[in-house]
Amino acid sequence: MRDVAIIGVGMIPFGRRDEDSLMDLLAYASLKALDDAGLGDKSVNAVYVGNMGGGIIQHQTAIASSLVDRLSLLPAAAETVENGPASGGSAVKNGLLAVASGYYDYVLVVGGEKMREVTGWKATDFVSTMTHPEVEYPYGVTLPGMAGMFTRLYMEKYGVTREHLTAVAIKNQDMGALNPYAHVEMSISREGILDSPHSVVNNPPVADPLHLYDACPVSDGAAAVILCPLETAKKTGKPPVLIAGFGQATDTHTLQERDDPTDLKAVSLAAKQAFEMAKLKPADIHVAELHDAFTILEIAESEHVGFFKKGEGAIAALAGKTKLGGQIPINVSGGLKARGHPVGATGVAQVVEITFQLRHELPKNRQVKGAENGLTVNFGGFGNNVLAFVLRRVQQ
C-alpha cells in the first residue's frame, strides 16, 4: 500500500446559498481544490462525491456522474458516496484506498449538501431518514431528539451541566466568528444564552436539555481535497499532508440496543484504528476537528478518542483546555456548531480544516502554533458509523 497525501484543498463559505445549486457548490469547491493542488493540465483519475440528500431534497441522483462532466474531468471514474452525515468521511476513505492501492494516482474527493432550500422542518425530517425505519422514524424520533436523550443520560452519568455545554457553544462560536468559511460568524455571550433571564427567548430548548445554541445550523456548503501518492506530493511546492491513519467502525442502528447508550463504541474504535495505523497516541495530536452537531457530542467524542478520561471532557471544556492555546484545541474552525453542517460536506471540511492547520496557513488567531498532527472524527447516524483520520505534516 502506498502512503497517500493531500496536495490540494478547497472550501466555499458555508451558509444559506440561495443562488447556487447543489452542483454549483460541488463544482466551486472542486475547482478551488484543483487550483490549490496546482495540477495544471493533469486531470484526476477518479472523483468521489460525498452527499446524503441529493436524491431527497434536490430529487437528483448520480451526482458524481454529473460533476465530472461539469468539471470536464471525463473520462475519470466517478462515484457518489452516501453514508448519512459521515458521507464526506466515507468519500475521503474511498479516495484514500483508491490511491493507496496503486490503482489511481490523482483523486478528487468532494463533499457537499444544499439543505436550505427546504424548511427547517423538512431538513430535520430528511436527516431523520437515517434512523431505524421501523422502531425509530415512525415514532417521530429526530436527531436533535436523540441528542437530547443522549445528553440527559450523559448528565446523569457524568454530571455534565448546561454550563459545560455552554462553554463548548461559546468557544466554537468565538472561533467561527474568525473563520470566513463559517456559516454563523458570530460570537455569543454566556449572559445572553445562559445567565440572563432573557436567554429563555434567545436560546430556547430545542430538545431538552439541549437548547438552540447547542445545535449546529442547517447549512449549504461544500469542501474538496485532492489526493495523490506521498512521493508525488513531495515534488509539489506546498507542505504535503499525509493521511497517516484512518479508522471506521459501526455500532447498532438503534440507540436502545446498546448496552450503554452513552458509550460511543464506534468513535473509540475508529479513533483507535486511526491512531494505530499512524503509530501515534491521542497525546501526540495537536489539533482536532470533532463532529459537534450538538455540543454534547464534542464533549463525548473528546473522551472517546482518548483526549480525556470518561467524565472529564466537560470539565476540560469548561477549564479552557480545548480552546486555541489549550491542551488540545478542538474545533478551531468553529466546528459544525459555527461553520455549519451541510451533512455530505462535513467529513471533507474537517479534513480541509486540519490541512490548513498542518500547512500553517491560517491567521494567528486561528492557527495552532507548530501543529504537526491532527485528528478528525466524522460521526454518522447517532454514532452507528464513524470515521476518523489522523493527518500528519510531512517535513520536506
Binding site: 451558509g15 424548511t119 449572559e191 432573557h198 436567554s199 427567548v201
Partner: protein
C-alpha cells in the same frame, strides 16, 4: 402647497387615546443590549430610510413586508390611519427592527408587521413579543388579530404562541386572522416575553438621541446574505 386644514380635518380619522409603551432593554444572545421603545411620529422619515432597502429583497418575503410597512408608516405619519403605533429595536443606536399595529377599538388589536433588519439574534421574536405586550398589557386589549406573510412568521407566531384560527378577515387582506387572547398571552409570557424595566437611562437616552440606519449594502447582507442562522 399648504394643507387645507379644514379639509384635512375631514380626511384625518379620529383617534383613540393610546397609552404609551414603556421602554425596556433586552440582552441578546451576543450580549448586546437592545433598547425597545415606542417610536414618535416625527421619527417616521428615518424609519422609512431603514425600511426602504427591504422593498427589493424577495428572500423570506421581506419585499412584501417592507412595502406594506413602508406604506403603513407613511399613513401614520400623514394621518391616514387610525390608532397606529410603532415600536423599534435599537442596538448602539442602530435600528435593528420595527414592528407596528393598531387598535381597531378598545378591545381588539390588529397586528400589522414585524421587520427584523438584523437577523440571527431573535430580534423579530423579541419585537413581536413586545408588540403583543403593548396590546395586552399597556393598551389593555382583550385580543390581537394576527396573520403571517412568511413561513418564518407562521412558525414564530402561530406555532410558538399557539394562536387560534378565526374566520375574521385580517386588515392586510390575506387569509383569515389568528387570535391571541389575554389568557394565551399570559400563558406564553414566561417563555416568550422578556425585558428589563425601567430601561437604564443612559441606554435609553442614547437610543433617543442617536437613531442610526445602516447603509443599504449592510442591510442587504444582514437580511439576505450567506451568514446567520
Amino acid at each position: 402647497m399648504p394643507l387645507d386644514m379644514e379639509l384635512e380635518a375631514v380626511l384625518r380619522p379620529p383617534a383613540l387615546e393610546m397609552k404609551p409603551y414603556p421602554p425596556k432593554v433586552i440582552t441578546l444572545a451576543n450580549g448586546k443590549k437592545m433598547v425597545v421603545r415606542e417610536a414618535k411620529r416625527e421619527e417616521v422619515p428615518t424609519l422609512l430610510e431603514a425600511v426602504h432597502p427591504t422593498l427589493f429583497i424577495p428572500r423570506d418575503f421581506y419585499d412584501i413586508v417592507g412595502a406594506r410597512l413602508y406604506a403603513e408608516l407613511l399613513a401614520w405619519y400623514r394621518y391616514r390611519v387610525r390608532n397606529e403605533y410603532c415600536l423599534v429595536g435599537q442596538i448602539d443606536g442602530y435600528l435593528v427592527g420595527i414592528v407596528n399595529g393598531r387598535m381597531v377599538d378598545e378591545k381588539v388589536g390588529m397586528s400589522y408587521h414585524t421587520l427584523a433588519i438584523d437577523r440571527g439574534l431573535r430580534i423579530g421574536a423579541h419585537l413581536f413579543a413586545a408588540k403583543m405586550e403593548h396590546h395586552i398589557e399597556y393598551l389593555g386589549q382583550s385580543e390581537v388579530l394576527i396573520v403571517a406573510e412568511s413561513p418564518i412568521g407562521f412558525r414564530r407566531w402561530m406555532i410558538e404562541y399557539g394562536l387560534e384560527p378565526t374566520e375574521i378577515q385580517h386588515e392586510l387582506g390575506g387569509p383569515d386572522s389568528y387570535r391571541l387572547t389575554r389568557e394565551m398571552y399570559f400563558d406564553s409570557k414566561p417563555r416568550l416575553v422578556v425585558g428589563d424595566r425601567p430601561a437604564p437611562r443612559d441606554l435609553l437616552d442614547y437610543a433617543l438621541e442617536n437613531v442610526f440606519v445602516a447603509d443599504e449594502e449592510t442591510i442587504n447582507v444582514k437580511i439576505a446574505g450567506l451568514k446567520g442562522r
